[in-house]
């Protein structure tokens, strides 16, 4: 026998023939949404609202890490990725703050307390709240970017003694666009937090700061060598926030950003959310900045 046709290794055990409609397989189907009922709907801003959800058909709770997201399904309209913005210590209530900017989020907007929507998740990488223990924490948020950061803020406040100085720097377009305003005001009244807010454009009776959030970062309030920074907002804002943090002396492997990309599946099958080698749904949305720094400056990647 010529050595070129050695007996071939048998393939690994073939799985039993299972039809596609087998319940075994469907039990693990990551594309099936679970029904959740809206317990409370709260108007936040002119185009932004918060839904509090609980499972419609069971009492299971959805444990999540701060910064993770769910795919929310509006019946017949489709799915949208939305970050979780509730308290991770209270996973029985699922909280989502949503901006109505497309067909799906507009369909979610129309839902009322008592209605049911679909949830898949939680997906993605979380803010490094455990790794940040012992460090100062600087949170830089722009616009609705505060929503994915709120679970991290709750987490830090739940275990405040584990962290050093904590700064929350927030920028909004106008005073009317300040998300979670009463909460921000409450946090600002705490002696163990530095909270500052700025707006791009002063309207009405605003007598607070005007300017980009980057300027708040430049004011310091933290020890740059001992700081973990969490940044979320429009990409252009994150670009400048990171620059400002680095100027303060925060190392780029202690800066984390949350990226947004088109997502259809959230489980790595659809391909839409790629950024270089990363699937934002799986490797992100929270990414350590040094990992994406070379990609961050490349236009249209």
């Amino acid at each position: 026998m010529a050595s070129t046709v050695d007996p071939l290794p048998a393939l690994s055990e073939h799985a039993p023939r299972v039809r596609e409609d087998s319940s075994d397989f469907f039990g693990a189907d990551p594309m099936l949404p679970a029904p959740y009922r809206i317990h409370k709907r709260r108007q936040e801003l002119s185009d932004t609202f918060t839904l509090e959800l609980a499972p419609a058909d069971s009492s299971r709770s959805l444990a999540f890490g701060p910064g993770q997201f769910n795919m929310l399904y509006a019946f017949g309209a489709g799915e949208a990725p939305v970050s979780i913005s509730g308290n991770p210590a209270n996973p029985a209530t699922l909280v989502h703050t949503i901006r109505a900017v497309g067909p799906v989020t507009e369909a979610l907007w129309d839902l009322k307390s008592g209605d049911v929507l679909g949830v898949r998740g939680p997906f993605g990488a979380a803010w490094p709240v455990a790794e940040a223990e012992g460090s100062d924490v600087v949170i830089v948020a722009g616009g609705i970017g505060l929503a994915p950061l709120r679970p991290a803020i709750y987490h830090v406040l739940n275990q405040r003694e584990k962290y050093g100085s904590v700064c929350i720097y927030y920028g909004a377009r106008t005073p009317a666009d300040i998300l979670y305003r009463s909460e921000l005001e409450k946090w600002r009244g705490q002696f163990d937090l530095t909270v500052d807010v700025t707006v791009d454009r002063a309207t009405g009776k605003w007598s607070g700061k005007v300017g980009v959030v980057t300027r708040l970062v430049a004011r310091g309030g933290f020890d740059p060598s001992q700081t973990v920074a969490l940044v979320c907002g429009p990409e252009i804002m994150m670009r400048y926030a990171v620059k400002s943090l680095k100027q303060q002396g925060v190392a780029n492997d202690r800066i984390y950003v949350s990226m947004e990309r088109n997502m259809k599946c959230a489980v790595g099958f659809c391909g839409h959310c790629q950024l270089g080698p990363y699937f934002i749904c799986r490797d992100g949305p929270v990414l350590r900045f040094d990992r994406i720094e070379p990609l961050f400056e490349i236009r249209e990647l």
Partner: protein, 376 residues
Amino acid sequence: MTAAPSSPTASAILDSAELDRLIAGLSGEGYQVIGPTIRDGAVVYEPLQTAAALPWGWADRQDGGSYRLVKSERNAAFDHVVGPQSWKRYLYPPVQRLWQAQRRGRGFLGVTRNPPTPHYAFFGVRSCELHAIQIQDRVFNNGAFADPGYLARRAAAFIVAVNCARPAGACFCASMNTGPRASEGFDLALTELLDSERHEFLVEVGSAKGAAILGCLSYRPAGDSDIKAAQTVWDAAANAMGRTMPAGVETLLKHNLEHPRWDEVGQRCLNCGNCTLVCPTCFCTTMEDVTDLTGRTAERWRKWDSCFTLDFSYIHGGSIRRDSRSRYRQWLTHKLANWHDQFGSSGCVGCGRCITWCPVGIDITEEARAIRDNGG
């Protein structure tokens, strides 16, 4: 031949007339046999009832932007190479309903029943295509999540590989280490042995399932002269291959994300998405949500998508990849470079389909070389 009769046979010889019984045997085992046949001037993969439907006596002439079937000087079953389709259309259908739900009061009820999928026997899978299937296996079972429909179809599939007797004009599998000879991942592998004296097939057995099917056929053990004849076929295919992918393309592309060649190829690329549709590993999809006229039944459908569309990268405020150059760069860097990080191998198997079916004949091996040769 030292294998015991009950264990998988290393290799055997079938007369060409036995192909019919092989197809019948697979059908008898409950498989729907899918194989190459001619439709609309191209070789496509469709259900086969008999071996007569194979493209006997036809070969393909392929080049950038060009595909023609031509009469071959011999009556071989497998002198064609690969056509516009690949097996992904069966393992991962172009349009798939994921689920259906009914409105109930203020909520909805998930209904998950999909029609059963046949157990497929893929007849005539080339080495590059075996590699493509294994690459998609890693996409749809990525460690964290698995696609149950894909896994079920894949687990049930029977694979009859065919070793290429000749490369097509666009082929470069040898430089991707994915062919032309099938080395693993099949149940049976055929090599067509055709000369003035015989028309036979060397059969290699890759699994117990394959051995069981072979056991139903009339065959004789392969002798040294048969192996030599097959070796000649394998060598001829490898040696006649005209194209190669430059070595080190993964690193090359990663370090040249702003190379001027992207602008140049972006000018030629029509953004039609043909390359992504014919590529046997491209897996991107989009979702479509539909309701019936009453609004009481909603369905979610998954459809093949292409990174060449503007919608593909759309987020609120606009698409990320607005320029043609960015979309071409995404496709090529994903396929040849980032795929390594994501799935542990290249996403390219060297089948050449994207070259042949590109309406303007863009050749990915040439694009990679142009970047390398111009300061890349």
